[in-house]
C-alpha cells in the first residue's frame, strides 16, 4: 500500500493548495514534496529486492475487470532508483521556484505536485493502462507550467510539446492494445493489461513481423519523449520557454520516461525485432549525439545550449539501451539518473542567473566568477560533471555506455550484441564535442572580463551571489554527483538483477540472428501475404 501512499500524498497536497491562501502555497508544496521524499527514502531502505530482478512494494487494486485493467503498482530496483530521482528533484524544484514565481502561485505549486504523482505513476505502474494514463498525465501539468509561466514564446512551445508527445503516445497505446488483444485471444477471451504477463506473452508468442510493428508503435511514443533524432524538435523550444523548475523536471525526469519506457517495454516485449533494428536505432542515436552537439556549439542562448546538450546526452543513453549487454544497460540506467542530477542542476544555475540578469545570452554576459564566485563554482562543477570528468558521475555512465557498445559485437563470448567498436568510436566524438561546447560556454560566462547587461535596478531584490536557499538546492545535487562518481558500484550492483533479467533472452536471439538474419525486406513480404 505504501506506493499508493506515495502517489496519493502529492495529490492531496495539490488539493490542499487549492483551498488555502496563495501566500502559503509554496510552503505546503515544499512540505508535501519533502514528506514524499522522506517516505520514498524509507521505502528504499525497506526494499528487500535490491540487486534482484524481483518487483517489490507490490499492491493489487482491481478495477476495470471487464478489460482486465488494474491499478497494480510495484517497483523493481531500476524503477525505484528513478522514483528516488523524482522525489528528490520535486522538492528542489518547489524550493527553487520561491522567488521566481510571483503570479498564479497556487496553480503553479498544485501543478508541480500533480506532475510528481504522474511521474511516480509511470515508474511504479504494473499495468499497461495505468502506465499510459500516468505517461499522458505528465503532459497536462507540464503543458500548463510552460504555457502559463514560460518565456515569450510559451504558447507555441507548450502546444508543440503537447502535440508531439500526445500524437506519438497514441500510437504506443494502439500497439499496447494490440498486444493485449493477442494475449486475450490466447487466453480464450480474458483480457489483461498486466505488464509482466504481456511482456512474457509478446516476447514468446508474437511473430517477428508483429513484433516489428509493435516496436515501431512503441518507439513512436518513447522516441518523441527521449527525444531521438529526428523527432527531437519540440525539446529545445519547450526547455527554453519553460520556467526553471519546468526545465529541471523536463530534463531531469520527463525525458527519462522515454528511456524508461524502452527499458520497461521495448526490451522485454519485442526482443526479436529489437535485435534486428538495434543498429538502426543506434545510428539514429549517434546522429542525435553528433548533430545536437554541433548545434550546441553555435548557440548563444545558454539555456538552449543545455537543452540541445540533453538531446546529445540522451543519445548515449539510447545507445546503452540497445547495446544489449549488462554493462551498457547499467550504464544507460545510471545515465538516466546522472543526467537528471547534473542537467537539472545546470538548469537551476541558469535560472538563478536569469533571475538576476534577465538574459541568457552568452555574448552579453561574462566573467561572472568575479561577481558571483559561489555560483561560478557550482557552474564549473556541474559542467564538469556533465562533460564526464573522471571522479564525477557523468564519466562513469558515459564510459559504461560506450564501453558496452564497443564490446557489443557478435563474437563476444557472454553477451553478444549487434553493435560494435565502430558505433562506439563515432559516438565518442560526441564526448569531445560536449567538452568543447560546454567549456566554451563556461569560458565565456564564468571567466574572462566581467560583462553585465544593463540593469534597471528593479530586479536586485536577490543578493548578488547565491542565497543560502539556492546553495541548499545545489548542495544535495553536487553531493550525489560526487558520491555516484566515487561509488557507482552501489547503484550498479543494486540494479544488476533487474538488468540481467531483462537481457536474459538476448544472447540466444543474437546468435540466431547471426545464423539466419531476418531482414526488414522479409518482413514486408510476409505482411503482404497476410
Amino acid at each position: 500500500m505504501t506506493l499508493w501512499l506515495l502517489l496519493l500524498i502529492p495529490l492531496v497536497g495539490a488539493a490542499c493548495i487549492f483551498v488555502t491562501k496563495a501566500s502559503i502555497a509554496k510552503w505546503i508544496a515544499l512540505g508535501v514534496s519533502s514528506f514524499v521524499l522522506v517516505v520514498s527514502i524509507l521505502m528504499a531502505v525497506q526494499f528487500d529486492q535490491w540487486g534482484t530482478s524481483q518487483t517489490g512494494l507490490v499492491s493489487h487494486v482491481a478495477w476495470l475487470s471487464q478489460l482486465g485493467v488494474t491499478l497494480d503498482v510495484g517497483v523493481d530496483s531500476v524503477a525505484l532508483l528513478l522514483v528516488l530521482l523524482t522525489t528528490l528533484l520535486t522538492p528542489l524544484c518547489v524550493w527553487g521556484s520561491f522567488t521566481a514565481i510571483t503570479s498564479r502561485r497556487k496553480e503553479y505549486y498544485a501543478w508541480l505536485l500533480i506532475l510528481e504523482t504522474a511521474m511516480l505513476g509511470v515508474f511504479s505502474a504494473q499495468d499497461l493502462i495505468l502506465f499510459y494514463v500516468s505517461f499522458e498525465l505528465t503532459l497536462v501539468p507540464m503543458f500548463f507550467l510552460i504555457a502559463i509561466y514560460g518565456g515569450k514564446n510559451r504558447a507555441h512551445a507548450s502546444v508543440k510539446f503537447f502535440i508531439y508527445t500526445f500524437t506519438g503516445s497514441l500510437f504506443t497505446l494502439a500497439g499496447f492494445v494490440y498486444v493485449a488483444w493477442q494475449y486475450q485471444v490466447s487466453q480464450y477471451g480474458v483480457w489483461s493489461f498486466a505488464i509482466h504477463d504481456l511482456a512474457q506473452f509478446a516476447s514468446t508468442s508474437l511473430s517477428y513481423s508483429e513484433q516489428c510493428w509493435i516496436l515501431l508503435a512503441m518507439l513512436a511514443g518513447f522516441a518523441v519523449k527521449i527525444p531521438v533524432f529526428p523527432v527531437h524538435t519540440w525539446l529545445p523550444l519547450a526547455h527554453t520557454e519553460a520556467p526553471t523548475a519546468g526545465s529541471v523536471i523536463l530534463a531531469g525526469v520527463l525525458l527519462k520516461l522515454g528511456t524508461f519506457g524502452v527499458y520497461r517495454f521495448v526490451l522485454p516485449m519485442v526482443p526479436e525485432a529489437l535485435v534486428a533494428y538495434a543498429p538502426a536505432i543506434a545510428v539514429l542515436a549517434i546522429i542525435g549525439i553528433l548533430y545536437a552537439a554541433l548545434i550546441c556549439w553555435v548557440q548563444d542562448d545558454i539555456k538552449k545550449l543545455v537543452a540541445y546538450s540533453s538531446i546529445s546526452h540522451l543519445g548515449f543513453c539510447v545507445l546503452g539501451l540497445v547495446a544489449l549487454n549488462p554493462i551498457a544497460l547499467e550504464g544507460a540506467v545510471l545515465y538516466m539518473i546522472n543526467h537528471g542530477l547534473s542537467t537539472g542542476a545546470l538548469f537551476f544555475l541558469i535560472g538563478m542567473m536569469y533571475e538576476r540578469y534577465h538574459t541568457r545570452d552568452m555574448n552579453s554576459i561574462g566573467g561572472l566568477a568575479k561577481k558571483m564566485p559561489v555560483w561560478s563554482f557550482f557552474m564549473v562543477f556541474f559542467v564538469l560533471a556533465s562533460v564526464g570528468l573522471p571522479g564525477l558521475n557523468g564519466f562513469i555512465s558515459e564510459f559504461m555506455c560506450l564501453m558496452g557498445t564497443f564490446i557489443a559485437t557478435a563474437d563476444a563470448s557472454q553477451w553478444p550484441g549487434v553493435l560494435g567498436p565502430e558505433y562506439a568510436a563515432i559516438a565518442a566524438i560526441g564526448m569531445v564535442l560536449a567538452a568543447m561546447y560546454l567549456l566554451i560556454m563556461v569560458g565565456k560566462v564564468v571567466f574572462g572580463k566581467l560583462k553585465e547587461p544593463n540593469q534597471d535596478g528593479a530586479l536586485s531584490s536577490l543578493p548578488t551571489d547565491l542565497s543560502p536557499r539556492e546553495i541548499g538546492i545545489l548542495v544535495p545535487l553536487a553531493a550525489l554527483c560526487i558520491w555516484i562518481g566515487v561509488q557507482p558500484t552501489v547503484l550498479t550492483d543494486a540494479m544488476r538483477g533487474s538488468v540481467e533479467e531483462v537481457l536474459a533472452p538476448y544472447p540466444r536471439l543474437v546468435q540466431q540472428e547471426q545464423e539466419a538474419p531476418s531482414t526488414p525486406i522479409v518482413l514486408e513480404k510476409e505482411d503482404q501475404h497476410g
Binding site: S65, L67, L139, V159, I163, A174, V177
Partner: protein
C-alpha cells in the same frame, strides 16, 4: 399488449411532463411559467427513478424486442443527461419578455411566450429516444425516430430570434425530410427483401439468407439506404454538411441537445439495423461493413480537419461532435459484445462532456449578445474561472486526455476496433485524435491561458443554470472513471440478446 405498454412507463411519464410543461408555460402566474424548467427536470428525474422498477426480470421475460435490455441503460442515461440539457437551456427562453413583465413594461400574452412549448418539445424528443429502445418493427422505429427529430426542428427555430436561427431550422428541416425519405425507402426495400416488418422475424430471414450464401441485393441496398439516412441523425459524413450551419445557427443550449439526443437516436437505430443482419466471425456483411468503414473514416477526418479551420467556437464544437460520431462507428463495425458496449459507454461519456462544453458557451454572453467567436472566450479565466475550467476539462475529456472520462471511452472503442481486426481503422482514428488535439488545445489555451482582448472585455457569465450544468458535467468528466466499471457492466447487460 399490456406487457408492451409496461415498458413505456418512462415515455408516458415524459408525455405527461410534456403536457404539463406546455400548459405551465401558458399560465398567468409568472412563478409557474418560470418554473417550467424545474417541472421538466422533475419529470425526467421521475422517469429515471421509474426505470429500475419497470425493468424487472419478470417483466423482461415477456419482452419481445430485439435487444430487450437496452432500454434500461439508454432510457436511464437519456433522462439523466436530459436533466443536464434542461439545465443548459435554463434562462434561454422568454428571458427578456419575462423581465419586461416583471418590471411592468409588458403584459403577459400567451402568444408571445414559448418557454412551455420549448420544454414540452424537449421532453417529447427525449421520449422519442426512449421509444426507439422498445421498437419491435420498422414502423415503430421510423415513428420513434421522427418523434426525436420533429421537435428539434422547432427547437432550433424558437431558440433565438434571429434570421440565422430561422435559416438553420429550415435547412435542418428540409434536409431532415430528405434523409427521412431516404431511410424510409430503405425500410421499404428491407420489407421487400424479408417480407416482414418485425425485427425478430427479419433476423431469422437474414440468417437464413446468410446461410445460403449472402443477403439479397434488395436487403443490402435497403440497409445501406437506411444507414445513410440515419447518418443524417448522427451527423456523419457525407450527410454531415448541414451540421456546422445548424449547430452554429441555433443557440448553444439547443446545439448541445442536437449533438446528443438525435445522435443517440441515430446510433441506436444503426445498432438495431446492424443487429438484424448480425456480425459473424468476419463482422458485418462486406457491403455494409465497407460502407460504415468509409463513413467512419470520412467522418473522423472531415470532422476534425473541419474543426481546425473554424473561428466560431460553436461551429468548432459542432465539427468536433461530427468527429465523435466517426469514433463511435468504429464500435458499430467491431460489433458485439465489446464494440456495442463501447458505443453505449461512449455515448454517455460524450453526452456528458459535450454538454459541458456547450453549456459553458450557453452561460456566457457578450454585452447581451451571445458568445460565438473564439476571441470571445479568450481570457475567460479572468472573468469566470469556473466556466473556463469546465470548458477546459470538457475539451480535455473530448480529446481523451487520461485520466478524464473521455479517454476511457476512446480506449474501449480502440480496444473493440483492434479486437475486431480493424487495425487500419483504429490507426486512422489515432491520427484523427491527434489532429483534434490542435483545436481542443486551442480552446483550452484560449479559455485558461490567454489574456483578455478588447472584444472579450464585455463577456461575462449571465446565466446561472447553464453554468451549473457545465460544472456538474465537468465533475462527471473528472470523477466518471470511478464508476466506469459499473457503467460498463450495465452496458454489457444492455446488449445481452434473449436466448432462443
Amino acid at each position: 399488449m399490456a406487457d408492451r405498454l409496461w415498458f413505456l412507463i418512462p415515455e408516458l411519464i415524459l408525455l405527461v411532463g410534456a403536457i404539463t410543461c406546455a400548459i405551465g408555460g401558458l399560465v398567468n402566474t409568472a412563478a409557474i411559467r418560470r418554473g417550467v424548467g424545474f417541472i421538466a427536470c422533475a419529470f425526467l428525474a421521475v422517469a429515471c427513478i421509474s426505470i429500475p422498477f419497470v425493468y424487472t426480470t419478470e417483466h423482461l421475460a415477456t419482452a419481445d424486442t430485439l435487444l430487450p435490455n437496452i432500454g434500461k441503460y439508454v432510457k436511464f442515461f437519456a433522462a439523466l443527461i436530459g436533466i443536464l440539457l434542461v439545465m443548459t437551456s435554463g434562462g434561454l427562453m422568454d428571458r427578456k419578455y419575462e423581465h419586461a413583465i416583471a418590471k411592468g413594461k409588458a403584459t403577459f400574452s400567451a402568444l408571445r411566450t414559448s418557454g412551455g412549448e420549448y420544454h414540452a418539445l424537449l421532453l417529447l424528443s427525449i421520449a422519442g429516444v426512449m421509444l426507439i429502445c422498445e421498437a419491435r418493427d420498422l414502423i415503430w422505429l421510423f415513428l420513434a425516430l421522427e418523434l426525436v427529430s420533429l421537435p428539434t426542428y422547432v427547437m432550433v427555430a424558437i431558440s433565438r430570434w434571429s434570421k440565422v436561427a430561422q435559416e438553420a431550422a429550415m435547412k435542418y428541416f428540409f434536409l431532415g425530410a430528405v434523409s427521412a425519405a431516404l431511410m424510409l425507402y430503405g425500410f421499404a426495400l428491407l420489407y421487400g427483401a424479408t417480407g416482414t416488418f418485425v425485427f425478430t422475424e427479419m433476423v431469422d430471414v437474414f440468417a437464413a439468407q446468410r446461410a445460403e450464401g449472402g443477403i439479397s441485393v434488395f436487403g443490402q441496398i435497403g440497409l445501406l439506404l437506411a444507414i445513410f439516412g440515419l447518418c443524417y441523425k448522427i451527423a456523419a459524413a457525407p450527410m454531415h454538411l448541414y451540421a456546422p450551419d445548424v449547430y452554429q445557427g441555433a443557440s448553444a443550449a439547443v446545439t448541445a441537445f442536437l449533438a446528443f439526443i438525435p445522435k443517440t437516436a441515430g446510433m441506436l437505430a444503426i445498432i438495431m439495423l446492424c443487429t438484424l443482419v448480425g456480425w459473424d466471425e468476419n463482422g458485418l456483411p462486406p457491403a455494409i461493413e465497407m460502407a460504415l468503414w468509409v463513413v467512419a473514416v470520412l467522418t473522423m477526418l472531415l470532422g476534425n480537419i473541419g474543426a481546425l479551420l473554424q473561428t466560431s467556437a460553436q461551429r468548432m464544437l459542432g465539427y468536433s461532435s461530427i468527429a465523435h460520431s466517426g469514433y463511435m462507428l468504429i464500435g458499430v463495425i467491431a460489433g458485439p459484445p465489446l464494440g456495442i458496449v463501447a458505443v453505449l459507454v461512449y455515448l454517455v461519456i460524450y453526452g456528458a462532456t459535450n454538454t459541458s462544453a456547450f453549456a459553458t458557451l450557453a452561460c456566457l454572453s457578450r454585452d447581451g449578445d451571445r458568445v460565438d467567436s473564439l476571441e470571445d472566450i479568450s481570457g475567460l479565466h479572468k472573468r469566470s474561472p469556473l466556466a473556463a475550467t469546465s470548458l477546459a476539462v470538457s475539451c480535455g475529456s473530448l480529446l481523451g486526455i487520461p485520466p478524464l472520462f473521455g479517454f476511457w471511452g476512446k480506449l474501449l472503442l480502440f480496444a473493440a476496433g483492434i479486437a475486431a481486426g480493424q487495425l487500419l481503422l483504429v490507426l486512422i482514428a489515432v491520427v484523427a485524435s491527434a489532429i483534434s488535439a490542435w483545436y481542443y488545445l486551442r480552446l483550452i489555451g484560449l479559455s485558461l491561458l490567454s489574456s483578455t482582448t478588447p472584444r472579450s472585455e464585455g463577456v461575462s457569465v449571465t446565466l446561472r443554470w447553464p453554468l451549473i450544468a457545465a460544472v456538474l458535467s465537468a465533475i462527471i468528466a473528472i470523477g466518471g472513471p470511478l464508476v466506469l466499471t459499473s457503467l460498463m457492466a450495465d452496458a454489457e447487460q444492455a446488449v445481452v440478446m434473449p436466448e432462443e
